[in-house]
């Protein structure tokens, strides 16, 4: 395979890499004044990467001797990742303009682009080395973004905490990777799958392979913030600037989840019964702890952090099924989840007091239905949808994963999941109650944020509204095609 073919298969990464380097130069010479131009160009570069997926990069097979694979699965995940990254870039300038301290510097969109580059490598990885390099690229950019507001102590704390715990998780993952490599003799997913299959056929299991599997899953569980590796999530989500929190809750979640699915199915598919126990435990623990932990929160960003832990648990139920239907369910779940979570964070961005300073307490939402009825209605829709209440699209996401779990014979798992989702509904409904039935708090500052944020909220609200059900034939067929690429 010649060089041009390889580059054509990795075209989205090439576009993002070149775009990122060029924009870095623009921002180095342009200074803070170039932020808006660099942001819009970065969004255009992400659009270019999505267009690049229409070519051979959208399903052309393996590139660079089996280090990288472009298939329907990676295309599905990449579209979600690039869209979520673009939204996170677009909502940033307004937020930073109103935050005391640093104005937005043009490195923000550049780091976002490099993070998207790393995430693209993660979802296309069919080799442990590609997996790790992509993961580190995404994580390094994320650590910096978390502490982007340097004068804010909480932001610095979030960055440091994320960095230290993220390095620990990388160490755990690498330890697992080295064990897997040592006991299988290869870093390529198909070779690892063959070694696991050969080992499963023998009466005595190799302990090294089992340990490698456990460590790899522990490292991946940290990256998707599944219980018991979730401790960093509330602190980091609360401390990071809100647009960055919206980013953390959307694109890297999709990338890490897609990566976990690919490792589980492609590299360790022959030993599904071994990793299924881990995934079932992580799923149930995340759902229950995410729901119970959120109840006592008074900060809306912390609450949304617990909500993301809770949602990751539901997505893992689809993975626990271990079937193509289950994987399609995970992809559907993540697609609907990023619409819900980005919408919620867009509403949080609107929460500003009379001076235009960001407020984050749930109490400040009181009586928003009277002061900002449209915004309150949108927030109520996102909350109902996250809770999985039927007319909204969030219900279908939960239905898809539970359906796959029941079809795979995991009836108890699905039953406990449904029961735990009722606990989760409590705190979502509490926000709706605060907005609609409590005495009004001082109204939020109605700023000059323009049509952009309002438009994005409206789009997210339409996607998760019952109108979203019209997309089911398309979404179902696409996610199924993506899932089939793994089996």
């Amino acid at each position: 395979m010649d060089y041009a073919t390889n580059l054509a298969l990795t075209l989205p990464e090439v576009v993002l890499g070149i775009g990122g380097v060029l924009l870095m130069m623009v921002s180095a010479w342009g200074g803070p004044g170039s932020t808006r131009a660099v942001s819009w160009t970065a969004v255009a570069v992400l659009g270019g990467a999505v267009i690049a997926l229409l070519g051979p990069a959208g399903g052309g097979g393996e590139a660079f001797d089996g280090l990288y694979r472009a298939d329907a699965f990676s295309t599905f995940a990449k579209v979600l990742i690039y869209v979520a990254t673009a939204v996170s870039i677009l909502i940033a300038p307004d937020f930073f303009r109103r935050t005391a301290g640093d104005d937005l510097r043009p490195e923000y969109p550049v780091l976002m682009l490099f993070s998207a580059l790393g995430m693209g490598m993660m979802v296309s990885a069919v080799d442990l080395l590609t997996l790790y390099v992509g993961l580190e690229m995404q994580s390094l950019a994320a650590y910096v973004l978390a502490s982007f507001v340097r004068r804010d102590l909480r932001s610095a704390e979030a960055g440091l905490k994320y960095f230290v715990l993220g390095s620990l998780a990388s160490g755990i993952l690498l330890y697992g990777v080295s064990l897997v490599y040592g006991f299988t003799g290869t870093t390529m997913f198909d070779g690892i799958a063959a070694a696991y299959a050969a080992d499963a056929a023998e009466p005595a299991r190799s302990l090294g392979l089992v340990f490698g599997l456990v460590f790899v899953f522990a490292g991946l569980a940290f990256k998707i913030a599944a219980v018991p590796f979730h401790m960093w999530t509330p602190d980091v989500y609360q401390g990071a600037p809100t647009p960055v929190t919206a980013f953390f809750a959307s694109a890297p979640k999709v990338a890490a989840m897609a990566l976990a699915v690919r490792v589980a199915v492609e590299a360790m598919g022959p030993v599904t019964d071994q990793w299924r126990q881990i995934v079932i435990f992580a799923a149930l623990a995340s759902i229950i702890l995410g729901a119970v932990g959120a109840i006592g929160q008074s900060n809306v960003k912390r609450l949304l952090a617990y909500s993301s832990i809770n949602n990751v648990g539901f997505a893992l139920i689809g993975l626990a099924a271990g079937t193509a239907e289950g994987v399609a369910g995970v992809l559907t779940y993540m697609a609907i989840y990023i619409a819900m979570t980005l919408g919620s964070f867009l509403v949080v961005l609107q929460m500003r007091d009379v001076n235009g300073i960001q407020v984050e307490s749930i109490a400040s939402l009181s009586g928003m239905s009277r002061t900002r009825p449209a915004l309150a209605a949108a927030m109520a829709m996102f909350m109902f949808s996250l809770a999985g209440i039927p007319p909204l699209f969030g219900f279908y996401a939960k239905f898809a994963v539970f359906d796959a779990a029941v079809a795979a014979g995991l009836f108890p798992l699905a039953a406990i999941g449904v029961a735990a989702s009722v606990i989760g509904a409590y705190y979502y409904l509490r926000i709706v109650k605060t907005m609609y039935f409590d005495e009004p708090a001082p109204a939020f500052h109605k700023g000059d944020e323009g049509a952009l944020q309002g438009g994005l909220i409206a789009v997210a609200a339409v996607v998760i509204s019952p109108l979203g059900y019209l997309a089911i034939p398309f979404l179902g067929a696409w996610s199924m095609a993506a899932a089939r690429a793994l089996f």
Partner: protein, 203 residues
């Protein structure tokens, strides 16, 4: 035989000094133990025939990373007066460590000249005719080219991150403008005046 002895020696010292790295109370001592661990790991690498990685361990980890650690540790608030009086007390231990290192180096060289260890199950057999560096280079720039480039991007991200988090434009500082300095001509900068006696000069 000698290879086996060398292996167990190096392996034992790596483990012991690794444990001491995390258990010693003085951070400077921790770094010293870490350096010992790196040296012995390099010895292990020499034994299995990966001489290039052994060199990397010594040059990169001992030479650069550990020294960097040492600088960071020394910037922390440690009572150096106390440390200086301790130097004499622990001179014997230090000498013993140094001697042990020297002896190990000799054993390693001797064991290496006897031929490398025969691993019972080598997943990827290496070609004895090809030196490590050539083998690594051939893989790195062909099969793993994609990852090599991607690793470059990771380093770029790390560099951008470090600058974003620490660089700050301070108001009131007078930074150097090389272009302006070079463009300045002598006639702009100097003035030839002939003051009369008792008048002084105007500046």
């Amino acid at each position: 035989m000698i290879q086996a002895i060398a292996f167990y020696l190096f392996a034992a010292v790596v483990i012991v000094s690794g444990a001491l790295t995390i258990s010693s109370r003085n951070p400077v001592h921790s770094v010293m133990w870490l350096i010992l661990a790196f040296f012995n790991a390099a010895g292990l690498m020499v034994l299995v025939g990966a001489e290039f990685i052994a060199m990397l361990l010594v040059i990169v980890y001992v030479g650069a990373v550990a020294v960097l650690f040492l600088f960071v540790v020394m910037m922390m608030d440690i009572d150096f007066a106390q440390l200086r009086t301790d130097v004499a007390r622990y001179a014997t231990i230090g000498l013993a460590l140094g001697t042990a290192l020297a002896v190990e180096v000799m054993i390693a060289a001797f064991a290496w000249s006897e031929g490398r260890i025969d691993l019972a199950r080598r997943a990827a057999p290496i070609d004895p005719a090809m030196p490590n560096i050539a083998a690594l280079g051939q893989l790195l720039y062909t099969r793993y080219l994609f990852l090599f480039e991607a690793a470059g991007f990771v380093l770029l991200v790390a560099m951008i991150g470090a600058i974003v988090l620490t660089h700050r434009e301070r108001a009131g500082t007078r930074s150097q403008h090389v272009g302006r300095q070079v463009a300045r001509r002598p006639q702009d900068a100097t003035r030839n005046v002939k003051p009369t006696v008792g008048q002084g000069v105007e500046l």
